[in-house]
């Protein structure tokens, strides 16, 4: 197997595994940059996956090929609404944000399975008939060498996730909104005295994280899982959270970390077909992404400094 073929077999799955993580991690970046810890990303993904699958199953006949695209939009909206619970608890009710996030995780899974049993009379849904399919991207796939590696047999949604990361970076670092968002997360009192509504900014940030989490969950469900059960989202949200911290709360950093996780996961899936890795027991490939993350955090990344006010409810007038 030549080097080019090797890349060709590694990169598309890497992109395809990382897309849901990128979306969700971007959501996490928004929320945590505004000062709200969001350990509920897992639950938001569960909600997204559930809504995405149910909508897809229900409207596949009506919407045809557009079904998956509409499904992820609906999942985004529903998860955004769902995330308001977390916003109310952690911003208005001054709840411990970690605890509220844990509650979101339990609630999403409980609700998802409960409603699945209500709608379908069993613990898991049927397979969707209109998932996302891989395509060759027009024109770009004709580029010699690079075309087959990056643009053949790929999910368009993977590239959307990368573009979205760039957009998020722009919003966060080049717009007044982004500046306010970061200010609220670093020093809410200073932001408040400058006339920025801490409460409003944090609500917006958590709702954005809900939308992106729902997007990530539904994309995962419609590209990888293809149905919904208690085992659809198992820890991807936590991986996304890890990507947020690994990426130092920066949209592009989070994207990089998510791409790395996707790459490592794809290795464990296709490792058997790669000469160098074929003899390695599969367990080492399975645990590689997690061990590498720990090593990377311990070795190269160093102290990860969270936004200063992350996790602290803002109480007007208190010092």
């Amino acid at each position: 197997m030549g080097f080019i073929e090797l890349l060709q077999s590694v990169i598309p799955p890497a992109l395809f595994f990382s897309a849901p993580l990128i979306f969700t991690a971007l959501g996490g970046v928004f929320s945590e940059r505004s000062g709200v810890v969001n350990i509920g990303l897992e639950g938001l993904m569960v909600m997204g996956a559930f809504v995405g699958i149910v909508f897809n199953l229900t409207f596949a006949d009506v919407l045809g090929a557009w079904t998956p695209w509409v499904s992820i939009l609906v999942a985004m909206v529903v998860s955004a609404i769902f995330s308001i619970i977390h916003a109310v608890a952690s911003v208005s009710f001054r709840a411990d944000q970690v605890v509220s996030g844990v509650a979101i995780n339990f609630l999403a899974l409980g609700l998802g399975i409960f409603l699945t049993k209500q709608f379908y009379g069993k613990g898991q849904t049927d397979m969707v008939t209109q998932p996302f399919y891989t395509t060759d991207i027009w024109l770009l796939s004709d580029i010699p060498v690079l075309g087959p590696i990056f643009f053949e047999g790929i999910y368009v949604i993977s590239y959307i996730s990368i573009i979205l990361a760039l957009v998020c970076w722009y919003i966060m670092y080049k717009t007044p909104f982004g500046l306010r968002l970061r200010a609220v997360g670093e020093h809410p009192m200073a932001a408040d005295t400058n006339g920025i509504s801490v409460t409003k900014m944090r609500y917006v940030a958590v709702i954005i994280s809900g939308a992106f989490g729902g997007l990530g969950g539904s994309v995962f469900a419609l590209t990888i899982a293809l149905n919904f059960s208690h085992a659809t989202i198992v820890g991807q949200g936590f991986m996304a959270l890890a990507a947020v911290i690994f990426g130092k709360w920066h949209p592009l950093g989070a994207m990089g970390a998510a791409l790395f996780f996707g790459f490592a996961q794809s290795l464990s899936v296709i490792g058997a077909g790669i000469p160098l890795l074929a003899d390695v027991p599969q367990v080492f490939l399975l645990i590689a992404p997690y061990v590498l993350t720990i090593l990377a955090l311990a070795g190269f990344i160093g102290r990860s400094e969270a936004p200063r006010a992350n996790g602290e409810p803002y109480i007007k007038g208190s010092r």
Binding site: F93, A95, G235, L286
Partner: protein, 348 residues
């Protein structure tokens, strides 16, 4: 002024109450009879001796994982990795149970201690990384959960069995199961582990409230910088807290291995004991006695829920929703306090 202590008791009680009411409303909304639903739940948790035995069996690991999470919380650490520590503890207990051939008074304690040690080692890693390099313990423990899951699966296949999906049963000299208890409870899987769990709770209370080690741990949890200024070794306390926390979770694993199942199977997902332990610790306000009470509540809810689909037609996931809501209300204690104070003012 109503005292803080009263609030600390009132908040969880009110949360549980609102949680159960919300559950009833959900049942009504979906056309079930909430009275039937809760009756089935009660029946399934305490209806006869068998169900009581099963409830206690479920409560046993919950107490221990709850203690594990609570202990770390006290030092300001979030041990989301109780899950992984449970898995390595379970695996270690099974390994000792299968491999060694000792009289019971040596074999059983040996297996339990090794399980606690395995969990402690699994807690030591994030503790050390946090203390020495400032790596966030949440992310390391999440990663270690997966490492524990996949490696234990591989070890079950390659070392503890001959390419099977589960290990053989442990020898009876390492088992916590007792015929006497099983006969008493119509052959439930209840075992002697509950005594170990209760003892562990007493131990946690003693360490936290009655020793200088516990004082230092709490102090580091309240204010790292002040503790350092007062001459405490913050790094050492962080590591110690994670080690003890991991040991509790490892014990929970041994309860499953030596008591409930007697073996270990390859698993594609987590046991959820560690994650449920977070809920238990939160409701129990991170105190030993609170953890015991919360573990009993959640254990009874979880076991009782299994009776709901057959008796009342309600999906048992309703209980997960109720648990989530209870945690949510505990977290939002500020608003409960606020409402209570309003009522107090209204009376005057």
């Amino acid at each position: 002024m109503t005292s803080n202590k009263l609030f600390n008791i009132l908040v969880p009680v009110i949360s549980v109450f609102i949680g159960l009411i919300s559950g009833a409303i959900i049942m009504l909304a979906f056309g079930y009879n909430p009275i039937e639903g809760y009756a089935a739940l009660w029946e399934g948790a305490f209806g006869d001796m068998y169900f009581v035995g099963e409830t206690i069996r479920q409560v046993t690991p919950y107490i221990l994982t709850g203690l594990a999470v609570a202990f770390a919380f006290r030092t300001g650490l979030f041990n989301i990795g109780a899950e992984g520590q449970v898995i390595v503890g379970w695996l270690a207990a099974i390994w000792v149970g299968i491999t060694f051939d000792l009289p019971m008074y040596l074999h059983l304690p040996f297996a339990v201690v090794i399980a606690a040690l395995a969990g402690a080692v699994w807690g030591f890693i994030p503790g050390l990384l946090k203390a020495r390099l400032g790596v966030h313990e949440v992310i390391v423990t999440i990663m270690l959960n997966y490492v524990a899951l996949y490696s234990s699966n591989a070890l079950i296949r390659s070392v503890l069995s001959d390419n099977q999906d589960k290990t053989e049963k442990i020898s009876s000299s390492a088992s916590l199961a007792s015929e006497w208890l099983q006969n008493l409870t119509f052959f439930s899987r209840m075992h002697y582990g509950i005594l170990i769990a209760l003892f562990a709770a007493v131990l946690m209370w003693f360490i936290i409230e009655r020793t200088s080690i516990g004082y230092e741990l709490k102090s580091v949890g309240y204010n790292k910088h002040a503790s350092k200024y007062a001459g405490m070794n913050v790094s050492r306390n962080i590591v110690l807290a994670m080690v003890i926390s991991g040991a509790f979770a490892g014990l929970a694993g041994s309860m499953e291995g030596l008591g409930t199942y007697g073996n270990m199977s390859v698993s594609s997902g987590f046991t959820n004991l560690g994650f449920d332990g977070i809920a238990v610790a939160l409701l129990g306000a991170n105190t030993a006695i609170g953890v015991i009470l919360a573990a009993f509540l959640f254990g009874a809810l979880k076991v009782g829920a299994l009776n709901m689909p057959t008796e009342a037609g309600v999906p048992n996931e309703l209980v997960d929703i109720i648990i989530a809501l209870i945690i949510f209300f505990v977290a939002s204690s500020y608003i409960i306090r606020w409402v209570l104070l309003r009522f107090k003012k209204g009376e005057k």
